[in-house]
């Protein structure tokens, strides 16, 4: 699957609820960030966790989040990054 996003793209993490295995942390759901790096495509861990093959592979991105966006209060010079699979991201332009 060709990556949908490139470095510099503004993205938002889906705000959905899941009860099954997932590698998108709760504290980042619904948050807006910027794509910093594009890694390759990897099998979907949400499927691998249940002994499935994990296709389609999902492009993986390092996304940077400003502290205020994540925690709702300002803190200068503090950025959080997380590696998020494409199916958890939507464009936020």
């Amino acid at each position: 699957m060709r990556p949908r996003f490139t470095p510099g793209d503004k993205v938002r993490v889906h705000a959905q609820e899941v009860a099954t295995h997932c590698r998108t942390p709760y504290y980042l759901r619904g948050k807006r960030g910027v794509v910093a790096r594009v890694f390759g495509a990897f099998p979907n861990p949400e499927q691998l966790a249940y002994h499935k093959i994990g296709v389609p592979y999902q492009p993986l991105y390092q996304v940077t989040f400003e502290y205020a966006e994540v925690w709702g209060r300002p803190q200068r010079h503090t950025v959080i990054t997380a590696d998020i699979y494409q199916h958890w991201l939507e464009s936020d332009h």
Binding site: V18, H21, Y26
Partner: protein
């Protein structure tokens, strides 16, 4: 919103305990078993399945057990799931070991 017991980012917590512990033989064996069973080439399940099994532990176990105690419970779950061992035969084995006082 559903939040897994393991999904800890941002939750209130106390100071970080910086003390270092040597790994015990138990730790080493559990770690080795996990790496063999979840080996990318000749394993029986993925590290993702391990994580899922650990995340499904009851809250008291997740916070009350040591790191490798959680792992050994996940190994039990997955070994049975994948049919590597049977639940009954594990029960029998545990009973036999307990009866022998854990001696060889």
């Amino acid at each position: 919103m559903t939040r897994g017991v393991h999904d800890l980012g941002g939750l209130p917590a106390g100071p970080v305990d910086l003390s270092e512990h040597d790994r015990t033989f138990f730790d080493q064996r559990v770690d080795a078993m996990m790496r063999l069973l979840a080996h990318p080439e000749h394993g029986h399940y993925t590290v993702d399945a391990m994580r899922r099994a650990i995340e499904a532990l009851p809250r008291d176990d997740y916070f009350g057990l040591t790191y490798y105690e959680r792992w050994v419970r996940a190994i039990r779950q997955l070994a049975i799931e994948k049919g590597l061992i049977g639940e009954d035969e594990l029960k029998r084995k545990l009973a036999a070991l307990a009866a022998s006082g854990g001696k060889t």
